[in-house]
């Protein structure tokens, strides 16, 4: 108990190192335990708070697990139809060019139903930030196969594993976007360890700075886990992601601005 009284002395406002940012609302997140969405939301909120952009930022929320994202970040929001977030964000940015506009989409939203909107928005070089959460599965609807599902990966609609002969190869949409002239900064990150969280945060901060300079589309892919869809514990799913997802979706910058 001597130790415990020492601990109480440490817990003082002056010694605070890390606290959940005020941009996050008090609503409890609807995500499964261990889901990367929560971490991604929080670091995005931290950047908005640290850069002082709470009243300047407009988010476009997708359809998918993160459909209720407007309940969790205390900024302006617009809900888009499934996959159409980049088109909606284009309109918002063109009408309100001084605002910071971002979309937050999963792989079903961005890489399946919204492929056309994504590619054309990036090809036009709209000054928006697209945050793409890739967990290789349709998490919200029960773990069906997505375009980003890995070869041989089991899902509820590919119970024997994804057979590339009949089901095709995983779509690396981030690589496609990086090859388009309109995109300015394209990177692939993850949020499963503290080091990766810091790198992702840095990438989001850079993207907000580029948007201030009207440079072009920034796309940040966050390779994430889906413990429920993959039928694993959160810790197992993070390990599985490191062993299987990262060889196919290697982390790092795909397109960096020439400076």
């Amino acid at each position: 108990m001597v130790e415990f009284s020492g601990i109480k002395e440490i817990i003082k406002p002056g010694n605070l190192v890390y606290k959940k940012t005020n941009i996050m609302t008090e609503n409890s997140l609807s995500y499964c335990p261990g889901c990367g969405h929560g971490t991604a939301h929080r670091i995005l909120a931290e950047i908005i708070g640290e850069e002082g952009l709470q009243s300047e930022t407009i988010g476009v929320s997708p359809v998918g697990c993160s459909v209720f994202m407007y309940n969790y970040l205390d900024i302006d929001w617009q809900e888009a139809a499934h996959g159409r977030a980049p088109a909606v964000a284009t309109a918002i940015k063109r009408l309100l060019p001084e605002k910071f506009v971002f979309t937050y989409q999963g792989d079903g939203d961005l890489a399946a139903i919204g492929t056309a909107e994504t590619i054309h928005a990036c090809n036009r070089g709209e000054n928006i930030l697209i945050i793409f959460i890739n967990n290789g599965i349709y998490g919200m609807t029960g773990g069906q196969m997505a375009p980003t599902t890995l070869p041989g990966m089991k899902s509820s609609t590919s119970p024997y594993g994804r057979d590339v002969k009949t089901m095709g190869f995983p779509l690396k949409i981030t690589d496609i976007v990086a090859s388009l002239p309109g995109s300015y900064y394209v990177t692939r990150q993850s949020v499963h360890t503290a080091a990766n969280v810091k790198k992702t945060k840095k990438a989001i901060r850079k993207s907000f700075q580029y948007q201030k300079l009207n440079k072009g589309t920034c796309l940040i892919e966050i390779v994430s886990n889906c413990p429920s869809g993959w039928k694993m514990t959160p810790v197992q799913s993070n390990k599985w992601m490191e062993e299987n997802m990262f060889p196919y979706y290697p982390l790092g910058d795909l397109k960096t601005p020439e400076e």
Partner: protein
């Protein structure tokens, strides 16, 4: 040499017991409780509070942002 001591406060009712913080903690401070919170999850708590160095790794990876970190020099 000044010793760095840290401490964490877990918002027990919001914790979903995903164990990601327990795995990422470099000193083994955090463990999962045997009891459950109101949602039925075995929540994280600082089982070995004297080991905490206030690195905030746990708070950074926590998907639900339930951990608050304090640090001081003794």
């Amino acid at each position: 040499m000044a010793k760095i001591r840290g401490s964490i406060v877990v918002n027990v009712e919001r914790c979903k017991g995903c164990e990601v913080c327990m795995v990422t903690c470099p000193t083994g401070t955090i463990e999962m409780a045997k009891e459950v919170n109101g949602k039925g999850y075995n929540y994280a708590f600082p089982a070995n509070p004297e080991l905490c160095i206030g690195c905030a790794n746990c708070a950074m990876v926590c998907p639900d942002g339930v951990i608050t970190v304090y640090k001081t020099k003794i």
